[in-house]
């Protein structure tokens, strides 16, 4: 089948792409649009390294076709910092040592960003459940949980 023309908003910018129907959104973001922040970890939607925000929901971009993103509003880690200012979740991950190798981090950040909109004042238990679609191999999660708590406090204070 011929390539299809799709347009969507990526980090506030209108973008377009020509894609084969079978192309996965994660590949188009990374290889056509060169937004390599979101990563590929498992390809079976278990690890969450490819998590981005589509129309105000967290989505695993490895299990979505690019054609399905036509008309969508997408936020990826590259668009998280606004006007040169780190987002509170980004700063909190640095402050609480919530990352090591950095590979899961963009997915973690995007999920934390959306999770704190869904639940601005979570308990630790809420965080564990709300972030359970993202695997991290390095941190043992303890500092990620702290980072989400810190980000929650920062966002509440803002």
């Amino acid at each position: 089948m011929a390539k299809q023309h799709i347009t969507f908003t990526l980090n506030g910018q209108a973008v377009e792409a020509l894609v084969h129907p079978r192309e996965l959104l994660i590949h188009v973001l990374r290889e056509q649009l060169m937004q390599t922040g979101a990563h590929i970890g498992c390809e079976t939607s278990h690890c969450g390294a490819c998590t981005i925000d589509i129309d105000n929901e967290s989505v695993k971009a490895c299990t979505m076709l690019a054609v399905q993103a036509d008309g969508a509003d997408i936020l990826s880690v590259e668009g998280l910092a606004a006007n040169g200012e780190l987002h509170a979740v980004q700063q909190a991950f640095v402050d609480e040592h919530g990352l090591q190798c950095g590979f899961c981090t963009p997915g973690m950040l995007l999920r934390a960003y959306r999770f704190l909109k869904e639940n601005p004042t979570p308990t630790e238990e809420d965080i564990r459940w709300g972030m359970s679609g993202n695997l991290c191999r390095c941190t043992g999660y303890q500092n990620i949980i702290k980072a989400v708590q810190t980000a929650s406090r920062t966002l509440q204070a803002e």
């Binding site: 079978r22 079976t44 299990t63 679609g133």
Partner: protein, 290 residues
């Protein structure tokens, strides 16, 4: 893990979707949330030549109540089920089970209709549908028909959907004040299929169990309605001893396959244990407890 080549269609009406499905026949596959089908396509177990994406069909979404039934559009996502006040009041077992499906991201894409129609014995909603006494509106070239959940699940990847049909909506009778529900799911970790699961919905008349449905997840070729366990409890004052007997009956009805989650013996026992837990929870709730 790269899917094979296919043609993609994203109809905006059911009529178009059904026409496309009729046109392409079994070369086509219907795409709902995609979290079962796309991984199968990436592994090249599934290689449909045509993919008919239902995500743009608005009439498949939404939860409403009419004519004494709660109607759930097949493309309603798990998180929409969880967020629904109507379901929380009228069909609380459904959102409770939805919380245990996969993980937050997957629940944003995964749909109740996809979960039911895929026919995977590991999916959670089939057993829940058996427990709540749901029926399904199936739309096809010859029009619509409504079938009961009980009898719809026939085997692995095998349901009562006929060629050319699409699951359109789920109809659920609302619960009453004396209805209790419970879903117990044992899994290895977040995101996994159940090692065994049990969904229970029962209604009390005074102390007596007036009606009861028990559905079992992932302990057979498809979701199992544990009718023999139900028979033990229906019309009875449910006691702990009866719960144990019912669980034994439920265990006898299972036919699990060994995999990395467990062998037949373990899964059978876990079906019993999940049954006991769901029954106890449903009973407590029916009596007005948590």
């Amino acid at each position: 893990m790269i899917p094979g080549v296919f043609d993609y269609h994203a109809p905006t009406t059911m009529a178009d979707a059904i026409a496309l499905l009729a046109q392409y026949g079994d070369e086509a596959k219907v795409l709902a949330g995609g979290h079962s089908l796309l991984p199968m396509m990436k592994l090249r177990f599934a290689e449909p030549a045509y993919l008919i994406d239902l995500n743009k069909i608005n009439e498949l979404r939404g939860i409403s109540e009419a004519n004494g039934m709660v109607r759930i559009g097949a493309m309603t996502t798990e998180n929409q089920l969880i967020a629904s006040d109507l379901l929380a009041q009228k069909c609380p077992l459904i959102p409770e089970a939805a919380r245990l499906v996969a993980d937050p991201q997957v629940r944003n894409r995964g749909t109740i209709g996809g979960d039911i129609a895929h026919g995977d014995p590991g999916n959670d909603h089939p057993a829940v549908m058996l427990a709540v006494g749901a029926s399904f509106v199936l739309a096809g070239p010859a029009g619509e028909r409504t079938v009961a959940a009980d009898g719809f699940f026939l085997g692995t990847y095998w349901t009562g959907l006929e060629e050319g049909e699409i699951l359109k909506e789920i109809l659920v009778p609302p619960v009453t004040a004396s209805t209790g529900h419970g879903y117990a799911k044992l899994k290895r970790k977040t995101g996994d299929y159940a090692t065994a699961g049990a969904a229970v919905q029962l209604t009390l008349n005074g102390d007596v169990c007036d009606s009861i449905n028990i559905g079992l997840t992932n302990v057979g070729a498809c979701a199992i309605k544990a009718t023999e366990a139900e028979d033990v409890l229906r019309g009875q004052v449910i006691t702990e001893a009866l719960i144990l007997t019912a669980a034994e009956k439920a265990m006898a009805m299972t036919d699990p396959a060994e995999d990395l989650r467990g062998d037949v013996e373990y899964k059978t026992h876990m079906a019993g244990e999940m049954c006991r837990r769901a029954l106890r929870q449903a009973l407590a709730r029916a009596k007005g407890g948590a």
